[in-house]
């Protein structure tokens, strides 16, 4: 394989890295009032990277840089969804960032580095590549959380995130090193072959697996590795919360898939049991604790924990059905999160964070349209048709039942019933009560258009879910995940 062919496999990453470096320099020469130049450059970089991805998309699996990198359909699809998520995040948070003095080059560059980290994870085919991606993504995120220096909340959140995140990275690396010890390789394909062939010390492998699963669980934020989620979601500026809650979910999914299914499918029996525990705990604890929250960001944080638990329920079926269900779930969940955090920023103003649940009171009278969009989000999260959240739930339950976990499916729906309670509470506040704060909601036109389209997409995908489901299946089958 020539160097050019190798580069072709990582061309989107090259674009993003170049853009990040370029924007960092350009930003030095841009005055504060003309900061939108670098903002649009960032958006342009995302667009170019998306076009490059589309252009180089092909059905074959390509291994580049001595099997360190894999460029398959899964990587391409997840790259595209990540670009969309990051771009929308920037659109939605523009006014919010401006009002808080965060509309700066650092924000854009760090966001691009987060994106780069995610891309590396998505196309990683070696334990080391995956680990590097995780570190790049996490370190950039720690910095982004702390970027708002005037308030103490973000600094505290960043510190917690960093300490726990570093610990988790260590755990992940430790697990990887054990598996390396047992199989003698860091290459996912070789590890997979070795595990399937029954070579290697099985005790060492199992220990390694435990640590790997723990590390992955931390990145996904499932119980009992969830502690950072509520604090970071709540403490970070909402724009950054939006970033943390969306694009990195794709990284979490890809990491889980590449490690557990790609490398350790031969130990599926072992990790299925671990994932069952994580999934059950997350669904139960996430949904119950969310009820008690008065901050909407905290509530959504616990809801994320519960949803990731639900996603794992599909994943642990350990077959194509399960992986495609988990992927569909992740994509729709990110689409939904984009709208919910986007709306929190719509409600926020300079010097005012609309981060209490109470701030949604009487929204239907202030703005029937935004109330309607939030209604779509809440019913989608609760999994009520005709919103797309229903199919996410449906595919996961189908996968679980198909794999013989009927009891788990029943438990899942029971916990989602608990979840419905707090989602309905938001609807109640918006529709049944009168507003306290009647100040008009002002939004930029591009934010308004995109946020509305994003919200309506939840309904549209709920009526016609087949295309997205089809894409998930194609991405996984073409990438040889069973």
């Amino acid at each position: 394989m020539t160097f050019a062919q190798n580069l072709l496999a990582v061309l989107p990453e090259v674009v993003i890295l170049t853009a990040a470096a370029l924007i960092l320099i350009v930003d030095l020469f841009v005055a504060d009032e003309r900061r939108h130049v670098t903002y649009w450059l960032t958006q342009l970089a995302l667009l170019v990277a998306a076009c490059v991805t589309l252009k180089t998309m092909q059905l074959d699996v390509i291994k580049a840089f001595h099997n360190m990198i894999v460029d398959d359909m899964l990587a391409d699809i997840l790259r595209m969804t990540t670009f969309v998520a990051v771009s929308l995040m920037l659109f939605y948070s523009r006014s919010y960032l401006v009002a808080r003095g965060l509309f700066r080059g650092e924000t854009f560059v760090l966001t691009l580095f987060v994106l780069l980290g995610i891309q590396v994870i998505i196309s990683g085919n070696s334990f080391l590549t995956l680990y590097l991606g995780v570190e790049l993504m996490s370190l950039s995120l720690y910095a982004l959380v702390a970027l708002e220096r005037e308030r103490s909340g973000p600094a505290e959140a960043s510190m917690k995130y960093f300490v726990l995140g570093a610990l988790a990275s260590g755990v992940l690396l430790y697990g990887m090193s054990m598996i390396y010890g047992a199989t003698g390789s860091l290459d996912i394909d070789l590890v997979a072959r070795s595990v399937l062939g029954g070579n290697g010390n099985s005790l060492l492998l199992t220990f390694g697996l435990v640590f790997v699963v723990s590390g992955v669980a931390f990145k996904l934020g499932v119980v009992p590795y969830h502690m950072w989620i509520p604090d970071v979601y709540d403490g970070a500026p909402t724009a950054i919360t939006l970033l943390i809650g969306t694009a990195p979910e794709f990284a979490g999914f890809a990491l889980t898939l590449r490690l557990l299914s790609g490398a350790l499918q031969g130990m599926a029996i072992d990790w299925q049991g671990m994932l069952i525990v994580l999934s059950v705990l997350s669904m139960v604890l996430g949904n119950i604790v969310a009820i008690a929250q008065s901050s909407i960001k905290r509530m959504l944080a616990y809801s994320t924990i519960a949803h990731m638990g639900f996603m794992l329920m599909g994943f642990l079926a350990a077959d194509l059905n399960g992986y495609s269900a988990a992927m569909f779930y992740t994509v729709t969940y990110v689409l939904t999160s984009l709208v919910s955090f986007g709306l929190i920023m719509v409600l926020s103003r300079a010097g005012f964070e609309a981060d209490r649940i109470e701030d949604f009171r009487g929204l239907n009278q202030r703005s029937p349209w935004w109330a309607f969009i939030m209604l779509l989000v809440m019913f989608s999260l609760a999994g009520i048709p005709p919103m797309v959240g229903f199919y996410a739930k449906f595919t996961v339950i189908e996968a679980a039942i198909n794999a013989g976990f009927v009891w788990l499916a029943v438990l899942g729906v029971v916990t989602s019933l608990i979840g419905a309670f707090y989602y309905l509470r938001i609807v109640r506040l918006m529709y049944f009560e009168d507003p306290v704060d009647r100040s008009p909601l002002e939004t930029r036109r591009d934010t308004r258009t995109l946020l509305s389209a994003n919200g309506l997409l939840l309904l549209l995908l709920g009526i016609l879910p087949q295309p997205l489901m089809g894409i998930c299946v194609i991405a996984l089958t073409q990438s040889n995940f069973l």
């Binding site: 009520i384 005709p386 449906f394 039942i401 198909n402 499916a409 029943v410 309905l424 529709y431």
Partner: protein
């Protein structure tokens, strides 16, 4: 052929969306007309379903089928048989009434009110004609959203509690149903309801599935002891909401029993029939007594609905032609009668803003025409011959006497209790001397209200005097249903 069923589903929904899009709350006139035209159009497209219906076959008619989610073999598959046809007509008819009933009464957020009712109407039609399990579930759950908003936004003082209770109760049952549907898919590799009629299932599996389905439909019906959401929802909902809840939403539960539980799980149904019959009798007798002591008119009618629906489930689980037809006839009749009674209470509530029986008395002196209408509906609720209420109750009692005399005896107490609580309420509210200043100043029915009640009165009388057209439509389909029930799937 025109896709009448799709029209029945989508015409109201599109009309509802139009009402939402073009409604101006400052100027509610146009939106009312959009809603009325939409509702009437929605009713008109269902008329050919009846006129072109073939009563000599039990096969599904007006079938529409196209791929929807090929990934799981889910189809957009609509069709009606003699069992579901009447519910679609009833629902579209009631929708017109509801829009008209809210004409001048609703003054806040009119477009959202009309939009919610119309969208709900389309979704309910979807429930009754969906022949794909997931399509059914799609409509079945989606219809909760408009009703949740209707109760919560335009309801009474305790509306938030009632709305969330309504939603969560219904969700408890329906979520397990989703698991049951997917389980059926995993054993049959199809989401077609008609395919599921043929799938062999062990008794243990059938019983588990029965529990899942039963929870959903028993909550909807509602059966004792999962009925407690209904009085709250009824009392707090605006008049239109109560009408739709009583006349249509409850029927979805009954329909679920005959569409899913009986034919798909025949052995479990026969195995657990005694249990369901016992619950039905408790509903009939115990809830009848509960209705007797209510001080709030809406609550009284709500309990009366539970008691009447007990008759329906009783009829179904006798597994005889008379019983099932009686149950279905009872549902249609109750659709008219309960709607009418809630409209009557609404008429009084609009004048005096009270639902308490004690606040009324001697209404006949102020509103003689109204008193006459309400008399008819009260009689129909008590099951008087020549009203629609008589048909279903008579058939079910007849069917139960054939099984066991004492069963029939217990069921027949319903007719006594029903007469007791309905007529006693009627006496206290309508007859006697004028109770207070407020009652004396109640204006007689407006022309709108007169025609509203008049149309329902005609329907009640027509079905009571000549029930044959109603029963004929369902006859063959019920024969077919009972053939499925009789055939063991073990």
């Amino acid at each position: 052929m025109m896709p009448y069923l799709s029209l029945a589903v989508w015409v109201p929904i599109v009309a509802g969306l139009l009402a939402l899009a073009f409604g101006r709350d400052r100027e509610p006139g146009p939106v009312r007309w959009i809603a009325l035209v939409g509702a009437v159009a929605g009713f008109l497209v269902t008329v050919p379903l009846y006129t072109q219906f073939n009563t000599t076959t039990s096969a599904m008619q007006f079938v529409e089928m196209s791929e929807w989610i090929p990934r799981f073999g889910i189809h957009y598959h609509l069709g009606v048989d003699g069992i579901s046809l009447l519910f679609i007509l009833l629902n579209s008819f009631i929708t017109v009434l509801v829009v008209w009933a809210g004409w001048e009464v609703i003054t806040t957020r009119v477009s959202q009110y009309m939009g919610a009712f119309l969208i709900q109407s389309g979704l309910i039609n979807g429930v009754f004609c969906a022949l794909d399990g997931i399509l059914f579930y799609f409509f079945f759950e989606a219809m909760l959203i408009p009703m949740y908003l209707i109760i919560g936004v335009w309801g009474g003082p305790n509306r938030m509690y009632a709305a969330i209770k309504f939603f969560l109760y219904t969700l408890v049952g329906s979520l397990l149903t989703l698991v049951a549907l997917i389980y059926l898919y995993s054993v049959s590799d199809s989401f077609e309801i008609l395919d599921w009629f043929q799938v062999p299932l062990s008794l243990r599996t059938q019983i588990l599935l029965f529990v899942a389905f039963f929870l959903a439909f028993a909550v909807k019906v509602p059966m004792w002891p999962v009925h407690t959401w209904l009085p709250d929802a009824h009392v707090e909902a605006p008049t239109g909401g109560s009408v739709v809840l009583a006349a249509i939403t409850l029927k979805v539960g009954g329909y679920g029993f005959v569409r899913f539980v009986l034919p798909i799980l025949p052995d479990a149904s026969r195995y657990l029939a005694g249990f369901v019959i016992a619950l039905s009798l408790i509903a009939i007798v115990y809830i009848g007594f509960v209705a007797l002591v209510q001080a709030d008119m809406k609550k009284l009618i709500a309990y009366s609905s539970i008691s009447h629906m007990g008759f329906v489930t009783l009829g179904f689980f006798l597994f005889s032609q008379l019983g099932v037809e009686g149950g279905l006839a009872q549902m249609i009749s109750h659709g008219f009668v309960s709607a009418a009674l809630f409209l009557c209470v609404g008429v009084m509530y609009d004048r005096l803003h009270s639902r308490l029986i004690a606040d009324y008395g001697g209404v006949v002196n102020a509103m003689p025409k109204f008193a006459a209408f309400m008399m008819l509906f009260a009689m129909a609720n008590s099951g008087l011959p020549a009203t629609s209420g008589f048909v279903g109750e008579f058939l079910v009692v007849l069917a139960s006497v054939r099984v066991n005399f004492w069963l029939g005896f217990a069921a027949a107490t319903m007719m006594i209790l029903g007469a007791a609580y309905t007529l006693w309420m009627y006496k206290r509210v309508i007859f006697g001397a004028i109770a207070n200043q407020g009652v004396a100043s109640m204006p007689e029915l407006s022309r709108r209200e007169f025609w509203l009640l008049g149309i329902v009165a005609l329907a009640v009388l027509a079905m009571g005097v000549w029930p044959k057209p109603f029963i004929d439509v369902m006859h063959i389909s019920v024969v077919d249903l009972l053939a499925h029930v009789a055939q063991s799937k073990l």
